[in-house]
């Protein structure tokens, strides 16, 4: 399977899920991720799996909960307003410590918004749109290739930590066709003694997010979850850096915004301006220490995002006031303009950042 093929990001993701052993896929259609259910409706029967178009997003996420409780690899995908509807189920899955893969191919919001690509669900993804103290691992691909690679990885991470793993891609990443080399299966296997597989010959397993007895059961459960989240925060530190070693101006971006920022770094370097790019590949856990280490040597950090100031909050938390942080955000399907990024960095050079207050 090492041949390079031209694939739409959404289809590369779908095939990667099958490569990873996903045989249960439940979804409700929404643009711009419809190629995923369309692909699955064709491929799942071929590989002996289940494609089920649910009657709603709530039903789809509940089916994922059920399938995951049965110990099989399950996935659902949607786009922004559809993901909003799934949040209750995601909280239940997190509380029940079930592994699954979720995909959000983001479109513009709020509300029904529009169908062009955007990154406005950063808060929804990283802060948890559902109730309670829970986390989901969030991976941020920047190409069709990464959509495929991260999806295979996501299933292993989900099983390893019994946690939902969210692939967060903007609509352009999902809609774009690019050269892709489909990944190989990792071959990792995970024992699931907790799964509901029929209790014949063993004591029964119970999967629930409701914890009533004893009185401190729910706090104990939360403490246990926090221990797990701490462990994940130690183990998952994923970044991609570009010309950051001697960067005087550091750009932070993910997804399509990062692709444009990378080009801006090239152009600025051609002009002799020392720009660099820090691209978080995991948005939760956010690679805060790594960003802090790199940003402290820069005069200023520019966050470029296809939202109006969401990623920038994690950037500010990471540098903790030590470095000035600026924001260039576009929304509603607009992509950051290459020239605008270049001009912004050039303006820092001109101003020599003497009168700019830390924001």
């Amino acid at each position: 399977m090492s041949k390079t093929v031209l694939m739409k990001g959404n289809e590369a993701l779908a095939e990667a899920a099958i490569i990873a052993g996903c045989r249960q896929y439940f979804a409700y259609p929404i643009t711009p991720q419809n190629e995923i259910p369309a692909y699955m409706s064709r491929r799942m029967p071929e590989v002996g799996g289940t494609f089920l178009q649910a009657e709603s997003e709530l039903a789809a996420i509940s089916m994922v909960l059920g399938a995951a409780a049965g110990g099989v690899r399950a996935m659902t995908s949607s786009s922004s307003p559809g993901m909003a509807l799934k949040q209750e189920g995601i909280s239940y899955i997190a509380g029940s410590e079930l592994p699954c893969v979720l995909v959000n191919v983001m479109r513009g919001g709020p509300g029904l918004g529009a169908i062009a690509g955007a990154q406005g669900d950063y808060f929804q993804a990283t802060r948890g749109g559902g109730n309670g103290d829970y986390r989901t691992i969030v991976l941020a691909p920047g190409s069709a290739q990464e959509l495929a690679d991260f999806t295979v990885d996501a299933f292993d991470l989900a099983d390893q930590y019994r946690i939902p793993v969210l692939i967060l891609a903007d609509g352009y990443i999902g809609q774009m066709s690019e050269p892709v080399v489909l990944p190989e299966p990792t071959g990792k296997t995970f024992e699931k003694p907790w799964a509901l597989t029929g209790a014949k010959g063993r004591s029964k397993n119970i999967i629930a997010s409701l914890k009533l007895i004893p009185d401190n059961a729910l706090e104990e459960h939360n403490l246990h979850l926090q221990e797990k989240y701490d462990l994940i925060s130690e183990n998952i530190r994923r970044i991609d850096t570009y010309h950051t070693d001697n960067a005087e101006w550091l750009i932070v971006a993910y997804g399509t915004a990062a692709r444009i920022a990378r080009k801006a770094v090239d152009r600025l370097r051609d002009e002799g301006v020392k720009a660099g790019l820090f691209r978080p590949l995991s948005l939760w856990p956010f690679p805060d220490r790594e960003l802090h280490e790199i940003a402290r040597n820069a005069g200023k950090v520019l966050t470029v995002e296809m939202s109006m100031g969401q990623l920038v909050e994690d950037v500010k938390l990471s540098v903790n006031g030590e470095v000035e942080v600026d924001l260039y955000g576009r929304a509603g399907g607009a992509v950051p303009a290459l020239d605008d990024i270049i001009e912004r960095i050039n303006s820092y050079e001109r101003e020599n950042h003497t009168h700019v207050q830390a924001s």
């Binding site: 031209l6 352009y172 774009m176 066709s177 690019e178 444009i260 990378r262 080009k263 290459l338």
Partner: protein, 184 residues
């Protein structure tokens, strides 16, 4: 080399396929490529279009504001995209169908009887092939003809592959007539 192309026409003129064909051919030549269809409000009103980037460098955004090349297979596409082409850019327009000819003086304007060239081979659905032929003649560094011919067998579904000999003939007809337009 970086070319940013928009290919536009009526639904059914093979606009998306044209983009994929160029991408696969260029990809097999080791180029970086991206292809993204237009969708949403843009799509309403009968024109479909796709954006294609072919480059020696990594591609930043697949979304094109100011294309260097536009292939316009129908009138609405000329109306929509002529003004967006970069100065010095190329507009190949389907003079078989387009009533209002493009007027900009800072572009290379190539009128191509694409639908007529296709009809000469007994189909009206090959106008896109004629346009690719013209493009290859005008932009020889973009991707070679033999790579596009090879890509036909990869991109066209098995069901429609039987039409590829016709596709190839229209491709060459577009190439050759553009040679004549250029010489004239």
């Amino acid at each position: 080399m970086t070319e940013e192309l928009i290919i536009a026409g009526f639904g059914g003129q093979g606009v998306l396929l044209t983009g994929r064909l160029l991408c696969v051919a260029a990809m097999r030549q080791g180029k970086h490529v991206s292809h993204i269809p237009s969708y949403g409000a843009e799509m309403r009103g009968g024109t479909a279009n796709c954006s294609v980037v072919i480059s020696d460098e990594e591609i930043a955004s697949p979304v094109i504001e100011r294309p260097s090349i536009v292939i316009a297979l129908n009138g609405p596409s000329v109306a929509k995209f002529e003004s967006r082409i970069r100065p010095g850019g190329l507009l190949i327009w389907n003079s078989s169908l387009v009533k209002m000819a493009p007027t900009r003086s800072d572009l290379v304007l190539i009128p191509l009887d694409a639908t007529d060239l296709s009809l000469a081979e007994g189909t009206e659905r090959g106008a896109n092939m004629a346009a690719i032929g013209a493009l290859l003649k005008l932009k020889p560094d973009l991707v070679p003809m033999d790579a596009v011919e090879a890509a036909l067998d990869e991109v066209i579904s098995a069901r429609n592959r039987k039409h590829n000999p016709v596709n190839r003939r229209i491709l060459h007809a577009g190439y050759e007539i553009t040679e004549k337009i250029n010489a004239a």
